[in-house]
Symmetry: D2
Subunit: 265 residues, 4 copies
């Protein structure tokens, strides 16, 4: 299906402030960017680079005053995400090298402290996809999805304590548990067409059966309409914007995603 998606960020910047942005989707196995627009107001110079996870990043210094970033694009994405019940666990020694960083604990996914919980959750379940699914079912049942309520990023341990979280932090818990079982897991930041209320979204992917599969603890089924913007170990790697120095004021963050007919450019 084809989507048109946009993101509008308005800031009030007290003093010149360096930013890292990740707002340019890549074309990849699951998505093709047909048209894309990236506007900075005021128009300032920015430099792009590819980070170690393959994400397209922009570096710039936002000038004091009003500053806005507007991105939009037409993109073709899958109608639904693949599922693969029964897909097998891949022993660590056979994992591709580029999946290995996604086995290690990270800022918001303290997998080193989830061995017991993860083992207990998946007792009797076949190693691999089904374990991940079991973990996601647990999260869906036991952690209250509280969209919009959380701003501070919290970690898997903290999600467990609070029993409620936004999508990103529910994913952190899922990732921590999967890694604790030696299954590579990574966070995805992006958009989801039918999300209510519309906002940035986050979910996670696991590497089983020889490829990455999508899991989304906030959604009952893996309907498609997903746009991946960035991949990383957790929210520390894939913030759509990271600002340095004194905090700036976010006046507005507005996401829009809608299905469109295949464009006839």
């Amino acid at each position: 299906m084809w989507l048109h998606a946009s993101c509008l960020l308005d800031f009030n910047i007290p003093v010149d402030t360096p930013f890292l942005l990740m707002l340019r989707p890549r074309s990849g196995k699951q998505q093709w960017v047909g048209r894309e627009q990236y506007v900075l107001k005021p128009s300032i110079s920015a430099i792009e680079f590819t980070d170690p996870f393959g994400n397209l990043c922009q570096r710039l210094v936002a000038p004091a005053g009003s500053f806005s970033v507007q991105t939009s694009f037409d993109i073709e994405v899958a109608d639904s995400s693949d599922t693969a019940f029964g897909a097998f666990f891949i022993p660590v020694e056979q994992l591709p090298e580029d999946t290995l960083p996604f086995l290690l604990p990270s800022r918001y996914c303290e997998s080193d402290r989830f061995s017991k919980m993860a083992s207990s959750l998946v007792q009797g379940v076949a190693p691999g996809y089904d374990q991940c699914n079991k973990i996601v079912e647990y999260i869906r049942t036991n952690i209250k999805y509280a969209p919009g309520e959380g701003q501070e990023i919290i970690s898997a341990c903290e999600v467990n304590e609070r029993s409620q979280a936004v999508c990103r932090d529910m994913a952190h818990l899922g990732i921590a548990c999967c890694r604790a079982l030696s299954i590579p897991a990574r966070l995805v930041v992006g958009y989801l067409e039918t999300l209510q209320p519309m906002d940035l979204h986050a979910w996670f992917e696991v590497y089983v059966g020889g490829r990455w599969y999508t899991f989304d603890p906030t959604q009952d089924n893996l309907k498609g309409g997903r746009v991946a913007i960035a991949y990383g170990r957790d929210a520390a790697d894939v913030a759509v914007y990271t600002q340095f120095g004194d905090p700036v004021e976010v006046l507005r963050m507005q996401i829009n995603v809608e299905q469109i007919s295949p464009p006839q450019y």
Copy 2:
């Protein structure tokens, strides 16, 4: 200055044929992509990746029949390319690691066979930028710029023998001579606003005085309006399209570049 540029490629494909394409400019130090469009007809799935030189590449299998690729973008680029007479030679042991591959001989730049010629050309010239400039002056004087006449890619040695070449192959000769003097040099493929007749363009960059500088043997001055699409060791690395298997027929290749007002999206 802001440019609108487009590239239209029409092929007649006898049998399904794999392609590598490099047709998506990156935002970088010298250029910012404001809007971009990438259309494949028929609409088929493609996968993007970043090659070892940082270029955005697309892989796809063109289906038998008519196949076209249309890219276009609005881009802000520099009004003129920097020059730096006197910029110093950097001893090999102090070069950044990522410049080292650009010291070695490559398919179309047989720098291992240009020591004598390069040394002789730059006799008495201060090491660094001025040597590169001298080499480009030599090429401009001694090799006839024959745009459009050459299709087969030829190497620095062959350019020397034939004494005429297209822009890409003149750059090959410049690169070979600079590398023979232990100066990193790389080919750039892209567009140049005022090129006559309009076509794809190629030039080269050298690493002296701590950064990359532009040289263009086909142009008298380094006026701006340049859009870099891809960087590489030579034309083997940065073909805008590489097809595998039996040759396909190129029906049309049409480039357009024009200056525009800063867009008000």
Copy 3:
């Protein structure tokens, strides 16, 4: 100075267990490996790869039973680590790309929660090296160096709560504070000649004034005799061994480092 260093690891392995090892020092700016030996008993096949931080890693599956890893090497290292009081802070927008991952919070360095503490510690101190030095002085004064007492890896937040830590975790606190000031900081795992009691050691480096500088909260002065084995964001990235699956028993871990005469091989 020349050092001979060795590391002996003896395990009791209940069931075949995958390992990642980082036990091969690289020759680099500060150190040259003259001779090296790496022995696995029983002799099993291992595969080496370079991780995203440039560390040489080994993957293997340790067979059930007794398993030992012995590495040793002769290495030339600096007599003392450079200091650079006054070395300036580099604005984020001018940092080299490969330093950027070391600005972000990581598993054991929750820099996103250290803004207040870090700002308060360095009040009135010139941005850059002197800030880092101030932070290290604070740690040296306020956190008790408790070598050998800690086994579980703890994070900067936890070090702060407990007020005592091993070298690695003291470095975590230093890193978290430096990153909170937008100074890239990374953990180094290695050996230190005169360490008492001899053990693996860990310290950290910060990027100021255009290069990486060493800080070691456990040592009064930066005398040399340091061997770097691996660099990373924190201990999650640079464990000398990471094992997957059920825990194995470490029977012995024995480090030895001694100064030697320049070898006459």
Copy 4:
């Protein structure tokens, strides 16, 4: 089998000269380095880095006068190289990304000019391993292996013209033909236990059936005892030493390889 191998390089250096060296084997799928020694005389500082192909490289400035490099190591390697008659051709669109650079023409492997020859050689042969084998048989029959006679590196085209070559250049011809058939092919520089006369050796690998396979046009069978030192597109990438500036004098290059009992360190 276990081998002890050594390489001794003696130079007479007229003026301080920058070098790139590739003389440190990596442990990998096929080989494990048990003990290694690397000696520079006089003892000067060198910096190591990993090149884009994963090779361990050393950079240094050789001081005027006598300069020698001595490396030696104990290494476990396979008893024979795998063969795989019937292993299938992998369509370009399914090749792993990191094999793609090995499809392109390079300095000494002008695959863009070998389509006709390659197609004609493999007429009627099943795509994949068997094609490569056919090409190697052709080379073995038609190009005279003239070890030690050639010093200047020559390209596939030149090998074809001269009908005799050293191992490295025979490999260049094999690589050019395989790439012309859209089969990734790379040069390997290393040692071969039973080579007569003993010298550095070079052969090539092709990617078919999902992995790299060894071919050696100079040897009748793929007996083992091979040590890979470096991988690259051709000899331009994997010179064991590359020197910059005016040529230096090589006084001696001595290779020794012998089988040993499994070492009991």
